[in-house]
């Protein structure tokens, strides 16, 4: 069931509250990257993807791969709010008895389509899913979110070549372009920029959007779906820490746990409860 943009905004707000709460309770995790992808994931799970939480193994379902697996609190929150597992499970993040691993595990967590976390691998796993679905006559799309720093990995470009060779039109990749990676700004750490011309040169259908704007996310996805001859790349400009002002512009929140005061400040910013 598709929800409208106003409702997507509200779900994304709740998911951001979940992200901060999970990481605060777990005492571990990556808040900045999870907040960065929260709107993309919300749009996919609550508007774009053809899925059924009652049938997580449905063969005809659309697939999603969070290639930047360290942002998984956003994915876990979306899956819980979609009904794949109880919302109360979120409090177990990264603990021994929980199914919510530090990075996504397709066999432990209902609704996770691919194990991910070591960077660079999601696009090629997604390509395999697209090629398999085509061979098996299944009418479904595969969506991947990568980080921007992540696409420094060589295997990304191996996949980029192969997806064009096989005209993998049902592969739609979002690059979460928040401009930061673990050690600092992408432009300082690597020679990655410019991003879009590289994908264009590899033969992909390319678009550029504001990654916190639901109308743009949905429209760009529809454009991508309409082009079945080329794989699609959507470069989504995002903000690391989006929604929690004191995390924005401070890359120490790549992986960091809020103090009690910071947790309360974040909850106030997000309109959540300071429990």
């Amino acid at each position: 069931m598709k929800v409208d943009i106003q409702e997507l905004e509200e779900i994304a707000r709740l998911i951001r509250i979940d992200i901060i709460t999970m990481i605060y309770k777990a005492g571990d995790g990556h808040p900045g990257p999870a907040l960065s992808v929260a709107d993309l994931i919300t749009a996919l799970y609550f508007n774009i993807m053809r899925i059924d939480p009652q049938k997580p193994d449905w063969e005809e379902r659309d697939r999603f791969i969070l290639s930047k697996g360290h942002a998984c609190p956003a994915l876990y929150a979306a899956l819980a709010r979609k009904g794949y597992f109880p919302h109360s499970d979120l409090s177990g993040l990264r603990s021994l008895e929980s199914h919510l691993q530090g990075h996504p595990d397709m066999n432990k967590t209902p609704g996770v389509d691919a194990t991910s976390g070591s960077l660079g691998n999601g696009v090629s796993i997604g390509l395999g899913m697209v090629l398999a679905s085509r061979l098996l006559g299944k009418d479904c799309f595969t969506y991947v979110i990568t980080g921007d720093g992540e696409i420094e990995e060589g295997v990304i470009w191996e996949a980029a070549m192969a997806a064009t060779k096989y005209r993998a039109g049902k592969l739609i990749v979002f690059v979460d372009n928040n401009g930061m990676q673990s050690s600092g700004p992408v432009e300082h750490v690597s020679g990655l920029y410019p991003i879009l011309p590289k994908w264009q040169a590899f033969g992909w259908h390319c678009q550029e959007i504001e990654g916190h704007n639901f109308a743009e996310i949905i429209q760009a996805t529809a454009n991508a779906q309409a082009n079945l001859e080329q794989p699609s790349l959507i470069l989504a400009h995002t903000v690391k820490g989006q929604g929690v002002p004191f995390m924005v512009g401070d890359n120490s929140w790549h992986k960091r746990v809020p103090t009690q005061e910071q947790f309360q400040e974040a909850m106030i910013a997000l309109g959540g409860e300071c429990q």
Binding site: A114, T115, G117, N121, S124, L127, M129, A162
Partner: protein, 317 residues
């Protein structure tokens, strides 16, 4: 004395038979179609063949994605490019999720890599895959065994690694059916010493056992083709009887058959064991037989090791 066969062609022959019966089987290559003699397959099953070019990491990840959607991909290229170049993809995206991907590694061992030199001689592959949980690991003896082993790994639901050779591989004259996870006794002259072996050096071991017999030493020759799961109970039973053993393999003495047997022995039945294989060094280019002799994987080396193991057994008494 050796008849020469082709384990690469044998793999492909077996895959053709599997593909005829199982429409979910696909072949994935990394510019390795000719290496694994895939032309006839590609002609017959063009939609079930994927060549991703010289890009093994992508090939293995694509296989993982395909398996997650219900296909059974066979990824076939050089052993080292699967187990080293794409090691992390094998470990994290195939083995950890337990996906039904079959990995076929060509040029397994220094003899199969022969004149290509170190870049194409793979003597660490078994050690690498053995340390990754959840992969079935098979080192078949010759073409006939490869045909049977390929069908056997297709029948199990989960990751498997199968080693093949150069395409000029010795045929073992003893014909005992392949059974996944079960060792094969190729000669049972007696129980003075056990010669555990696998892969393309088996004929050397059989010859050594014959010569030992002429010298009054009676050995049992055991093909341990499946290293995971290891046929532990049967191996321990043999060790109990012989109380002395030699392992002979075309692999580094670290990580492969020698390690598997000595690890088991150390915990279950401590026994003097001499390991024969590449002694933790880099080999040179050369023809297979002189190469194996040069690196002390020769018939006289096996005989010497058997005598030494028996000597140690007698000292242990």
């Amino acid at each position: 004395m050796n008849t020469i066969g082709d384990t690469r062609a044998a793999f492909m022959q077996s895959l053709m038979e599997i593909a005829a019966e199982d429409p979910k089987t696909v072949l994935i290559c990394a510019d390795s179609r000719l290496v694994v003699k895939g032309n006839a397959y590609v002609e017959k099953y063009p939609d079930r063949f994927f060549d991703f070019g010289i890009a093994e990491q992508n090939a293995v990840n694509c296989a993982a994605g395909m398996a997650a959607c219900g296909l059974t991909p066979f990824v076939a290229t050089y052993a080292g490019f699967i187990t080293m170049r794409a090691c992390e993809q094998v470990r994290t995206f195939v083995a950890y999720p337990g996906l039904n991907v079959k990995l076929i590694g060509a040029n397994g061992g220094i003899s199969a890599g022969e004149r290509e030199g170190v870049t194409h001689q793979f003597f660490e592959d078994i050690g690498i895959v053995r340390t990754i949980p959840g992969i079935t690991v098979v080192v078949p003896a010759d073409p006939s065994q490869v045909i049977q082993a390929t069908k056997a790994i297709h029948k199990i639901n989960g990751p498997a690694y199968l080693r093949i050779g150069s395409g000029r591989d010795p045929v073992v004259p003893v014909d005992i059916p392949f059974q996944l996870g079960k060792l094969r006794v190729l000669a049972e002259n007696g129980y003075d010493v056990a010669l555990f072996t696998n892969g393309f050096v088996i004929n050397r071991v059989l010859k050594a056992a014959d010569l030992l017999k002429q010298q009054g030493i009676n050995a049992i020759v055991v093909d341990v083709h499946t290293l995971k799961p290891l046929d532990s109970e049967a191996i321990i039973q043999i060790l109990r009887r012989t109380r002395a053993a030699v392992t002979i393999e075309d692999h580094n003495i670290i990580g492969g058959l020698g390690s598997a047997i000595t690890e088991l022995s150390a915990e279950a039945h401590p026994t003097p064991i001499i390991r024969i294989g590449l002694k933790d060094t880099y080999p040179r280019s050369g023809n297979p037989d002189p190469l194996l002799d040069y690196y002390k994987i020769g018939i006289t080396d096996i005989i010497g090791a058997a005598r030494k193991a028996i000597q140690q057994k007698n000292l242990w008494r």
